[in-house]
Symmetry: C2
Subunit: 234 residues, 2 copies
C-alpha cells in the first residue's frame, strides 16, 4: 500500500492462494480433512484443500476460501475464520507465495464418507508427511481452536444442530485434553446464555435418564460468542 516505486515495474510474481483447514471431531479426537492432489507439485500427496485466489470472481480471500472449500468438498461450513497468512519463497516450489489460511469447523455428521469419498480424515495429533508448510498451518489451526475453546462457544460448531450437554462437554474435553467439572461446565454454559433447550426433545434409547437436547440460540447460529473465561478445565 505504498507509493515508492512504480507498481508497473517488472517484479517477480507473487503466487496468491488460500488454504482451508477443515476440522472435525472423530472418535473424540480432532481430525483434519485432506484431499489427494491431482497436479504438480506434490501430485498424489494428501494436502489441505486450497487454490488460487481469483481476482475476477472472488470478493475477498474469505469468499475465495468458501468457494474453494465448496468446489472441492461440496461443504458449506457454518464456521469459517481467517487463521493467518503464510508466505515466503521456500514454502512452494513454484515460487514466492502467499497463502491466506482459513479454518472451518464442522460436525462429523457432515463428513459422512459415503457423501464425501474424496475426503481423507487424518488425526491431527501425530501429523506428518504433508506437503508445502501444511503441517505448520494445521498446527496453527489446532492451537487456535484449542485456545479459543477454553473461553468461547466455538466447540458447538463441532456438534450437530442439536446436542445434549453431556455430549457438548465431551467435545470440550476432547479439545482441551482434560476432564471438566460437570457443575462448573453447566454453570458456564448457563452464563454464556447461548443455548436453548429444544422443548420436548430428549436423547432416548439408553437405560438411563434421558438428556435434554439443546441447540444454539438463533442469534448465534452463525456467530461466535467470546465471553471471557467461559470454560475452564478442572
Amino acid at each position: 500500500m505504498q507509493p515508492t516505486g512504480n507498481p508497473n515495474v517488472s517484479r517477480e510474481t507473487i503466487i496468491c492462494t488460500v488454504d482451508v483447514v477443515l476440522l472435525s471431531l472423530k472418535d473424540a479426537a480432532l481430525h483434519v480433512a485432506l484431499l489427494r492432489r491431482e497436479h504438480e507439485p506434490f501430485a498424489g500427496a494428501l494436502a489441505l484443500p486450497g487454490g488460487y485466489v481469483r481476482a475476477d470472481e472472488d470478493e475477498d480471500t474469505e469468499s475465495a476460501a468458501a468457494r474453494i472449500l465448496f468446489e472441492k468438498t461440496a461443504i458449506v461450513s457454518p464456521y469459517l475464520e481467517q487463521l493467518a497468512t503464510f508466505s515466503g519463497r521456500a514454502r512452494d516450489p513454484r515460487g514466492w507465495s502467499i497463502s491466506v489460511a482459513y479454518y472451518a469447523l464442522v460436525p462429523a455428521s457432515l463428513l459422512e464418507l459415503e457423501h464425501h469419498p474424496e475426503i481423507q480424515l487424518l488425526a491431527v495429533d501425530p501429523l506428518k508427511g504433508l506437503p508445502f508448510d501444511h503441517r505448520d498451518i494445521v498446527q496453527a489451526a489446532v492451537a487456535r481452536v484449542r485456545s479459543k475453546s477454553s473461553y468461547s462457544s466455538l466447540p458447538v460448531f463441532l456438534c450437530g444442530e442439536q446436542f445434549t450437554l453431556p455430549q457438548l462437554q465431551a467435545v470440550y474435553e476432547a479439545l482441551l485434553g482434560e476432564s471438566i467439572n460437570k457443575v462448573s461446565f453447566r454453570r458456564k454454559m448457563d452464563e454464556l446464555d447461548i443455548l436453548e433447550p429444544v422443548q420436548g426433545a430428549r436423547e432416548t434409547g439408553r437405560a438411563n435418564r434421558p438428556a435434554q437436547l439443546y441447540r444454539l440460540k438463533q442469534a448465534y447460529r452463525k456467530l461466535l460468542s467470546t465471553t471471557d473465561r467461559a470454560i475452564n478445565p478442572d
Copy 2:
C-alpha cells in the same frame, strides 16, 4: 495452493502489500504512527506505513513489514506480530489487493519527535479520515492488543527498557481502560515471573518512597509470555 488450471494463465493481477500498525502510549492513550503519503492514491493523506512485498528481497511478509517499517521510520520494533490479512477489490483503487497487516509496539521514548519528524501520532480512540481500509486495520490491531493485554505481558513492550511497577500498572490500566487492584496486579506479575528487579536502581527525585526499577528477564526480551489470565481488571 491448488493445481486446478494453469498458473501461467493470464489473470487479473493481485497487488500484494503489507501495512504496519505501529502503536505507542502517549498521555496515557494509545496512539498510532501515521505517515503522509507521497504518491497516489491518496497522496498527501495520513496513512499507515506500508508498501509492496518484494519477492526478490523479502524472505516473507514479516521481513517485508520489518523492512518497510525501517525504511519509512528508521525504527526496529522489538515486538512485531502478524495481525490479519485484508483483501478484496474495494479496499484499494488500484485494483484487487491483499494487505498482510502487522502490528508493532514501541515505547514512547522511541518516537521522540525530533528524531522522527515524519511520524504523526494520532490517538486511536476517535479515529477517522484514514484512506483505504486503514481504519479497520488499526481498530483490529487495537482490539488485539487490548484483548491480549488482559492475559499476557504484551504491555511491557510499551514501556522503556526499565520501568517501575506503578508505571507498568498505569500502562495496563490505560490499555484496559479500567483501574486494576494494586495487590492483584503485583501478585500476577510475580506469578508471570518475567520481570527482574534492577539491583540498586530506583526511581528517584520525588517526595516519596522511591520505586524499584524492573526490566524484562533476558529470556523474554524478544518474546511474549502468554500465561493465562495474568492480569484482570478490578
